[in-house]
């Protein structure tokens, strides 16, 4: 006997296309002009923040940085869909998520200046700090989602991973646990086409990354990741459904900039690719829509840019006022200070080893 025992389909969602046309039938309920303007402002602030850190890094005032240029819609769309008490668990490129969820800007600058104090995210923000080893944050997100179910909070957890991250074992393990536990976890695959120099085509033979959810028995959808409204709707739907279990959302976007400031993309990709994606820029298409519908103009753009630049400069100034205390390295290793560590601390302090 030979019979078909399983088959599946993956939906693709796009609501705001690259020409700024909004599919009103698909647009989520409750999304009004103000929300769209907020989305535009959120993406713009993220882009301005990004440019600022890049510039600081080039001046030697920030450490190696992973720019988000081009991925604003994936991040702002998902972040704005989250409820007040939902949690987010990012990787290392989701600066827009941190900003949109209310992380004080100076903390982000402090992190990118290379200080742990930048990771002291206020409790109410509901986010965990940047995680650098790829995909290892996914099991954490699953554990946090487990705790929500355990405590009956009704809150969801939104986590982020790149296309390269979907090749890691922890990605599959987290999805598998989430499927078995039926926990309120939303996994956003921020598929920006590149894992440093490795294109999506060399990452996996799977037709979509979304379908990797199928192995774990959980829901999946693919979305135009440069369509902030589409990402918003997919995330909102997933959160509303999260009491039934997890969802994977693959967002198709493009890393228009560098992997990090240590990277030179001209070594491995063509300008032609980038030019194609510039036409699909997430900010451009929303601005086109807003202008066309008399919701936005040059005056508003200028006013917004000035306000955001002011906020950013103020935050940079605050971060640059920070004075590190080497003692803090010793004080937060354990809940107590072991004698062996105390000896090392005392030696450093007494001998004046901490210079500069």
């Amino acid at each position: 006997m030979l019979s078909k025992i399983y088959s599946t389909e993956i939906d693709y969602l796009q609501i705001l296309d690259e020409n700024g046309e909004l599919d009103k039938a698909l647009a989520p309920k409750g999304i009004d002009s103000n929300t769209l303007i907020e989305m535009y402002k959120g993406m713009s602030l993220a882009r301005a923040f990004d440019a600022k850190v890049l510039s600081l890094q080039r001046q030697g005032r920030a450490v190696t940085y992973a720019p988000l240029l081009g991925e604003e819609a994936t991040q702002i769309g998902s972040a704005m869909a989250m409820g007040k008490n939902d949690f987010f668990v990012p990787a290392f490129r989701q600066h827009a998520v941190y900003i949109a969820r209310g992380t004080p800007l100076h903390l982000l600058f402090l992190y990118w200046k290379g200080y742990e104090e930048g990771d002291v995210i206020p409790k109410g923000v509901g986010g965990t700090p940047i995680i650098v080893p790829v995909s290892t944050q996914l099991p954490h997100a699953a554990g946090i989602a487990f705790a929500q179910k355990y405590k009956g909070t009704g809150n969801s957890v939104v986590t982020y991973v790149g296309d390269g991250g979907t090749s890691e074992g922890d990605f599959y393990e987290a999805l598998n646990f989430a499927g078995v536990w039926k926990i309120p976890l939303i996994v956003i695959i921020e598929n920006n086409g590149w894992a440093i120099s490795i294109p999506r085509s060399k990452q996996t033979a799977a037709k979509t990354l979304a379908q990797k959810a199928v192995e774990a028995g959980i829901n999946a959808i693919q979305v135009d990741g440069n369509d902030v409204v589409g990402v918003y709707k997919a995330t909102k739907d997933a959160i509303e459904n999260s009491a039934q279990g997890p969802t994977v959302i693959e967002c198709l976007t493009y890393r228009m900039g560098l992997h990090t400031t240590a990277d030179d993309p001209t070594k491995y990709r063509s300008d032609a690719d980038l030019e194609e994606w510039k036409k699909k820029d997430p900010l451009l298409r929303l601005k086109t829509y807003l202008v066309k519908n008399n919701l936005w103009d040059d005056g508003k753009e200028k006013e917004m840019a000035e306000e955001q630049a002011g906020r950013i400069d103020k935050a940079v100034e605050e971060a640059e006022r920070f004075v590190p205390d080497p003692k803090s390295m010793f004080e937060h290793v354990y809940s107590f200070m072991p004698d062996v560590l105390k000896q090392e601390l005392d030696e450093s302090e007494a001998a004046g080893f901490w210079q500069g």
Partner: protein, 321 residues
């Protein structure tokens, strides 16, 4: 109650779960099966599937989800079925459990206790007999404990679950059922970072822990030698004071562990003795450990792990130099 180490840890887990409703056990086969060594036996019936969670078979997933639970206010106690399989969770423990606190300046914490059986001598298959304490201790950020008695196992577990740090709790397989001793029914704490004086003597100091504690004690008894025997109990943070005080008292130091010799805990102990007590030593420090290669198949393990003769010869050499 009279308890072996399995009973003692089981009793500590039960007490911890009663005391703190955020305590969750998770791992492979820990529910109905009670774990492959039966350490969690009966806890599913007492606390239900919500708090005794049989997980999919994935060590990194177990460690990583436990970290997430801990970040969100639970106090998970994941069981790793064997220390040899636990290396698949090494990245999660070393990269994340160890440093969430320091990298967030204590704004996030990872209160959890990772339990795993360690060491050999019980003729098991490959990857069931590793002694990984040095790996977990080396970087810092993880507390590493390894009891050698039922009494210490219960007290250390109770204490570990009352702390807000990530603790690697190593349970020597060989000692699980080796002997019983009187263990209080009620919860009690053994301080983390404090060694135990197994016996007091003045001819030499033997610094040891885990499976080697009963072996060393037996050799010292048979030889009738007056030895300070120190069971470290906590590997990280090391009880340097207990080690150095004893070294100064006896002037002769023997270090015995089952983990392989090179780059092991013995090297750390010997270095601290050298730094703090070298002028009080009457003889060079001697280390007795398993050989410096991966753990052999069970047919060969009796030639690999330190035995009574090896310890005895080392004591003779130390006393005669």
């Amino acid at each position: 109650m009279m308890a072996n180490m399995v009973n003692a840890i089981n009793s500590a887990l039960e007490a911890s779960m009663k005391e703190n409703e955020d305590v969750v056990l998770l791992g492979e086969d820990i529910g109905k099966d009670g774990g492959v060594f039966r350490v969690t036996e009966g806890l599913l019936d007492k606390f239900g599937e919500k708090r005794v969670v049989d997980t999919p078979l994935a060590e990194s997933g177990i460690a990583g989800t436990a970290i997430g639970m801990a970040l969100a206010g639970l106090h998970p106690i994941p069981e790793m079925q064997f220390a040899g399989f636990m290396f698949l969770a090494f990245g999660q423990l070393i990269n994340h459990a160890s440093r969430y606190r320091s990298r967030t300046r204590s704004s996030l914490k990872v209160p959890m206790v990772v339990r795993t059986p360690v060491s050999g001598g019980v003729r098991t298959l490959e990857h069931h007999s590793e002694s990984p304490e040095a790996y977990y201790s080396h970087m810092g950020g993880l507390i590493v404990v390894e009891p050698s008695t039922p009494y210490d196992a219960k007290g250390l577990m109770i204490k570990a679950v009352r702390m807000e740090d990530p603790v690697i709790f190593l349970e020597p397989t060989k000692l699980y059922r080796l002997f019983k001793q009187e263990v209080p029914d009620e919860p009690y704490e053994i301080e983390i970072g404090k060694a135990r004086e197994v016996s007091s003597g003045d001819k030499l100091s033997i610094i040891t822990y885990g499976t080697m504690v009963p072996l060393v004690s037996e050799v010292a008894r048979k030889k009738g030698v007056s030895a300070d025997i120190i069971d470290l109990r906590t590997i990280n943070p090391l009880d340097e004071k207990a080690i150095v005080d004893s070294a100064k008292k006896t002037g002769r130091v023997l270090i015995v562990h089952e983990a392989s010799l090179s780059f092991g805990v013995g090297a750390e102990v010997a270095a601290r003795v050298a730094e703090k007590a070298i002028y009080e030593l009457q003889a060079p420090v001697i280390r007795v450990a398993s050989n410096s290669f991966p753990y052999p198949f069970p047919g060969y393990e009796k030639y690999y792990i330190p035995n009574e003769l090896k310890v005895s010869k080392a004591i003779d050499r130390l006393l005669n130099s």
